[in-house]
Subunit: 246 residues, 6 copies
């Protein structure tokens, strides 16, 4: 089975870390293809960044279809372009926020999201609503660590994140934690050990879930909203993105 | 990895069919242990049946903990005893309605449930709400086929179910189907081929999801609502169920 | 009019206290039949306890039908087996959480529930949702008094409960209190006097409401979800619970 | 116990019918005081009518407080002035829509409202939402019978209402009926016999519920939103309504 | 274009302040007709006050129709009689809470309402729900300044309001403020300058929105719930309010 | 006042029609600047099209800030890039679906959306939810007219749309219509005349509302989610979109 893990920002070292995490949990027959977007923002920290990350992300999904991928992970906690990617893909496409929230909701009565910048907490609430997860989500908490500082040597990031997780348990009554950034993929187990409740990380959760869905033979519904884009000719610098008939 | 598939009714031939379906999708390292409840109703078709199915179900979960199970599938579409089972289990416990609804919600914009008796449609709506899935669920439709007639030789069950699925697509605008009974596990692929949209079946979906969660090292949160039952001495014929300190 | 008050746990002295409270408010023509479950947990403090309380509870409802009861009160704040009991009963069946929340919602713009153990607060929220009462419920607060300590001589329970009620008024903006445990039935008036807002207690509220509904000639709807259980033969130690045709 | 039943429209013959229905179900110690509003609309069929019914209604509540009433029924299905009346009253105040919806929600999994004019169906939905009852309410159906035609000799009203009830059972999947007009108080039992599911009528339901609440010693919360109106001097023709200090 | 601004309380100096604010933002061709209710409460601080403000308000709308008004602003934050007024009016009728909440919801991800007395916060929440604005409304905060003290010389009102606004930003995470009383109309700009986030005031917001809607040629829908009141004869002192055929 | 109307698709003749409609309702002091996106899809009929329309749209907003625009209308019914545009803009930014739904919700108790292709109805429901408008929206109906066929000479579009509007009134009980495509801007008045209920069209509604908000001096909140994008260097062909410090 071939699963493509797409980092929709352009920072290759984040892709590498995520690929290592994903491969560590992948099943015997699963090949993880990790791709870094070739254009747009190096980190996604708001709606504008997210909007400009979409062309690069969708180019990777379109390429993935030509490469025969069986499914996709969108590896940014805003799950950018999820529905658009589903229009392109035959197999399942899962966002890491979606996977993490769903997983947390079945192993704990409630969870809190711990993320990077305060300006992105609204985006996480939008996703929780879109996936039906608001009833499980006690809070979305920001650490005000920038995405690209997460793995800076000497960064206090892990400490700040663990502290915020503890506040989520105590002040919000959460029973589990969802880490709210793809850049936190390699921190989950250490923080879980430290705080003593399940810590769900989306990159690995999404990889396993795509594996499960593809293993079930389930594909994206091609009736209605996720049908292939209608063939038409796009204009200007984006002409290469023009959808063609299948 | 050892996953226990528990049929909470006492009809062994349903367990056998489900075990075959589950094993057909299980990963290389997964052992599926299929168990049939040793007491209570032979089919679950209402709240009363479900209530009396709980002791038998929970006995199997308790036994499973002694047997070293890594996770559980509750194989009845009402997901009976799900939260109680989570109190007992260390690993993940997934209900087949829960797994099927979650899976359908990530491969299609919406789904409809097609189930057995009209009297159980309210139960399915309760579950959709509990899992945050009402926003995806267009309708819950009954075929008025009794559970134990599903695999009766010569039964019109498959025809009736496929017809109801088609009505869900046309009248409700659903984009995928969730089969609403464990007894329909072996019908999914044939109906999918017939109606041309994804048909999600919960036994296999739950098996794969428990596999995924256990593969991620995620366990049930033991803080709060899913903590182990408090040790106390039960009375009368149910004394054997008394929770003990871990 | 004959109303059966069923304590679904096996602790007879709690039944006695509740019966005294219920009889103190019962109308002239009402006979209160108080019954203690003959099997299962001595107190209900979680989903597992609740599941194992169901056979004992439902046995009392089934007996009640043979005894000609006009209605039932399920006297545990988790309202265990409410829908299953409605399948068995001809007359109305009311849970004490249901009665207390409904009553509080018509005499005050909002209420808070004050209950025993933190692990049960999620159960109270489930009930609030099931009854449409989340819009009135400001908070569910735990005192961490165990159910069976409520009436222990010298217990600080009443003090702890009254303090938590005050916090609900001040911190949550609640305008009334719902006591969240059948074992608090005899504390309501004293706490109300102390804190100066309405304190609603479910055992008495449910008794009066069953009386009212039965007095109106209203019975449980036997169409659909609350229809009598289908006749079938249960297996093993629970065979005696097999539903028979009416 | 003294309960005041207030008809907020000025049609005395409707009050008389309602008083007969209410007294037929009242408990031994209950005196029903039936009052007809002395000003405003003879029937309430929209928001404007309802607005102009409020002074007459509130005058009756204010008088009731001087007369020592223990509780009030607001006997119009729009429950006009319910919150304002609660500011005035010491005892409980219940609207007939509120009582009927609450009662229907505990004896059936779902109900439909059958009311008079189509223009008032939105008002019934507003009430269902305000009371948390939307989850139980399958539909609000109009018969387009005018309020004052309900008891016209030779009227087809009862036939039209019963037919609409049947459609609610068949097309909406409702399991019980709520009659949506005070003028239907005397039709409930006959229609119930005819259609074979519980038919809940608000005048009697509200009377019994006020009786129950007052019997429990529960009064309207005087903290917050339902506190007595602040003393101030009203101007013009409404000066007599000026609230005074208690 | 003729827009009538109706103050539903009887305090003329509040009307004058509001008229000045409204005229300051009105477009070139807009005439603002400011009217003070001729009967009822001098300030609206609860449901009872609001109920008795309705006749005076509706008399002004009825007069407005005879005067050829193109639209109406109901200038009290409880938006009293909004739906009843829409039954009377041909043109658009907007409440100031409605206008302010809608405006705040399109310039900020969330807002908090800062109002006068604590007893009215529930009323603001009712409106937020009625308009679909709960998802944007982080909190409703009371300053416990009485309506008629807002413009008392030497009053600390502005200081108290600005302080409460700051708490809304810090403690509730609101991104904008809605001032919750018509009497605060002239404070908005000064507080906005002070706290540095948008402060929306309803009188001006409603005036501009009625202007916009009327400029679009949009009128109140006369189908269904907002159809003209049915002609009938009212009784007693309110006979003058009897609706007549158009 | 300078308002920029941005057509996020590349079809200039749609922009021209919209500009004519917008200028016809604009106030005396308002200059309408109409812009057509310079890159991406010629029509937006799904999530993929919408994603690729974002760069062109955001380029126009960024240019608008340099041009001193006081506000923006996003003139496509999917309201693409609304939140991202708000990060860029100082003044108000309104989507045409947002404006139309808000306007419809204040002149009618309910509305239905009548749009182009069935595959986009889910997008309209997403918007209704995001704006709090689901409670007013009875249905979203597709005509299966393609966007670019709307103004094709001899097209049956207007007939098909009017017919669908009538079905919305009769079958869904809607009281007003929202036209669900920018390409329908010039049809609103004719259809309104034909069907006799208010027909709200978003381009003009949004123009008037931006005018109103800007006239009130209200700007987009720059605290939190709508703060300016963080300065960073974008990669590849999208480098020109890199946000810079203000």
């Amino acid at each position: 089975m071939k699963i493509k893990l797409i980092n929709p920002n352009t920072t290759a070292r984040m892709t590498e870390t995520m690929a290592i995490c994903a491969r560590a949990v992948a099943g015997a027959g699963t090949e993880v293809y990790a791709a870094t977007s070739s254009m747009g923002p190096p980190s996604i920290e708001g709606w504008y960044d997210e909007s400009l990350a979409l062309p690069g992300l969708l180019a990777e999904v379109a390429a993935g279809e030509r490469e025969g991928m069986d499914g996709y992970v969108i590896a940014c906690f805003g799950d950018p372009g999820l529905f658009a990617a589903r229009e392109l893909a035959r197999g399942p496409v899962i966002g890491i926020a979606e996977a993490a929230m769903h997983a947390a909701s079945v192993i704990a009565p409630s969870f809190a999201v711990v993320t990077t910048l305060a300006r992105t907490t609204g985006m996480a609430w939008h996703l929780a609503e879109r996936y039906g997860m608001t009833r499980f989500c006690r809070n979305v908490r920001a650490t005000d660590v920038a995405v690209l500082d997460l793995d800076r040597p000497g960064s206090a990031a892990r400490r700040l994140i663990a502290d915020e997780c503890r506040r989520a348990l105590e002040d919000d009554g959460a029973d589990a934690i969802v880490l709210g950034c793809a850049g936190m993929a390699d921190l989950a187990r250490a923080i879980e050990d430290e705080i003593g409740v399940p810590v769900v990380e989306g990159v690995t959760a999404a990889l396993k879930w795509v594996e499960a869905l593809a293993g079930l033979g389930l594909a994206t519904a091609k009736r209605g909203e996720y049908a292939r884009p209608l063939a038409k000719r796009y204009d200007g610098p984006l002409a290469d993105f023009s959808p063609r008939d299948a």
